[in-house]
């Protein structure tokens, strides 16, 4: 029961921080709303593009490279998800886990080298 209370309180603190993190911008913007002027002119609400009228919508098709980097990120982020518990429990697992993890990372490194050779990592 003692531990449960400690645990709950710690996460209650996290929740408090979450509330404050959202509350600060809301309160600051509300105070700003009371203080700031409001004089709308049509020109103020145009999209900024160094003084020119923007041509077309800006949400165009984007370079596929961003997507490939996102895929690479997912692969290696999942790898870290495996590495963290392994590192925590390494003391108890010993050399067997080390070899296992080496095999696992080695396979992902092959993937990295493949992407490297395919020039995925090159940014144009």
């Amino acid at each position: 029961m003692e531990m449960l209370n400690l645990y709950q309180n710690n996460y209650l603190i996290v929740f408090v921080f979450l509330c404050l993190g959202i509350l600060l911008p809301v309160v600051a913007l509300f105070i700003g709303k009371l203080l700031r002027p409001y004089k709308p002119i049509k020109e103020k609400y145009t999209t900024y593009e160094s003084g020119l009228d923007p041509i077309g919508d800006s949400r165009v098709q984007f370079n596929v490279r961003y997507y490939i980097f996102a895929l690479m990120f997912v692969i290696f982020d999942v790898e870290t998800v495996f590495l963290y518990p392994w590192a925590v429990a390494y003391e108890k697992l010993g050399i067997f886990a080390l070899i296992e993890m080496m095999i696992f990372v080695f396979m992902l490194v092959i993937g990295l080298i493949y992407a490297w050779k395919k020039k995925v990592l090159k940014w144009i």
Partner: protein, 336 residues
């Protein structure tokens, strides 16, 4: 007293007390941000052989940032007609909130800390990644070409550098056997991890500068090519929220570097132990902060094509090698 509070039944009263304490921390951080901006301008001024702010608030410009914030508060708020209004409004909140939430897990001294989470390090890494979404949302919602480019760049850069950042600290987790930041500090009582893990420290430092979007990795908001990146269309206090998030992250990242590599609140030599831990923490924290300012006035911006290759081709393999080197050395030391 706090110890009792932490062991008592979690409820509304506890919520209220924690809330008040967190508000205090919030004001400490806001005070830090105010003077961090001033310090940045002053230090950069001196490094570039000029004065920096010296008009508002005496010779040292002590009230300059306060005046700037008040000015921002009085600025008219414009939302472009073509922008996606709900997302435009919510983006600064998404960017700011995680920067404050991560502060919950950081132990400043053995007494002055908030949540003592078992997964502290993972918590920090996971939450700090959320800010990227805020930046991308802001860039996309603005419906501006510069902003979208800046937002996309921010996302690509931050996810790329997150990997080396996360991997570099695994060496520390291996040596400590825990993700709890208090345990990590406790394990550094005799030797700091900067001595045991120098490679990890360098990778962590580079990746953290990239995560903070600071020079030399400030491509998402490169002024002279993207105007201001993802926050071109933001004005007044909404813009201030993005800036605030950036500086709160500097606070958080400098604290985390201190906790992970520089021994937290432990003194430099044990005979200096009579100096309180808070002073030691502040000193180390300021050294890291000064290093960031120094970087800013020293390095030119890195080229966009080199940026990604640097993360994936250099930092990531070194970080992976560092993990296994640490594990093997630990295994060898266990034999004797």
């Amino acid at each position: 007293m706090v110890e009792e509070l932490l062991h008592s039944q979690a409820g509304i009263l506890n919520f209220g007390i924690f809330f008040l304490l967190a508000v205090v921390l919030l004001f400490v951080i806001l005070g830090f941000v105010t003077y961090a901006i001033l310090a940045e301008r002053k230090v950069m001024g001196f490094m570039q052989l000029r004065q920096g702010p010296n008009q508002v608030g005496g010779r040292w410009g002590l009230l300059q940032t306060v005046a700037d914030v008040l000015k921002l508060l009085l600025k008219e708020d414009t939302i472009p007609k073509l922008a996606d209004k709900p997302l435009f409004i919510i983006a600064p909140v998404i960017a700011f909130a995680p920067s404050f939430i991560v502060m919950a897990a950081i132990p400043f001294t053995d007494k002055f800390q908030f949540a003592d989470l078992g997964v502290g390090l993972l918590y920090y890494v996971a939450i700090s990644g959320l800010t990227t979404i805020g930046m991308l949302t802001g860039g996309w919602a603005s419906n501006n070409k510069y902003a979208l480019l800046g937002g996309m760049r921010a996302a690509a850069q931050m996810i790329s550098y997150e990997i080396p950042l996360v991997m570099s600290v695994i060496g520390i987790v291996l040596l400590t056997g825990s993700l709890n930041l208090n345990d990590i500090v406790a394990a550094q009582e005799n030797v700091w991890y900067i001595v045991l893990q120098p490679v990890a420290f360098i990778i962590f430092l580079i990746a953290s500068v990239a995560e903070l979007n600071r020079v030399p990795f400030d491509l998402p908001e490169a002024e002279n090519e993207l105007v201001a990146g993802f926050h071109v269309e933001y004005s007044g206090f909404r813009w201030a929220m993005f800036m605030l998030a950036e500086y709160v992250y500097i606070f958080a990242m400098a604290s985390l570097t201190t906790v992970l590599f520089l021994g937290g609140w432990h003194p430099l030599f044990s005979f200096l132990g009579f100096i309180p831990g808070a002073v030691w923490f502040a000193l180390k924290f300021m050294c890291v902060f000064f290093l960031l300012l120094w970087f800013r006035s020293t390095f030119p911006r890195i080229r966009a094509d080199k940026l990604m290759e640097f993360a994936w081709k250099i930092l990531l393999p070194i970080a992976l090698a560092n993990i296994f080197l640490t594990a093997i050395i630990k295994e060898i030391l266990n034999l004797f």
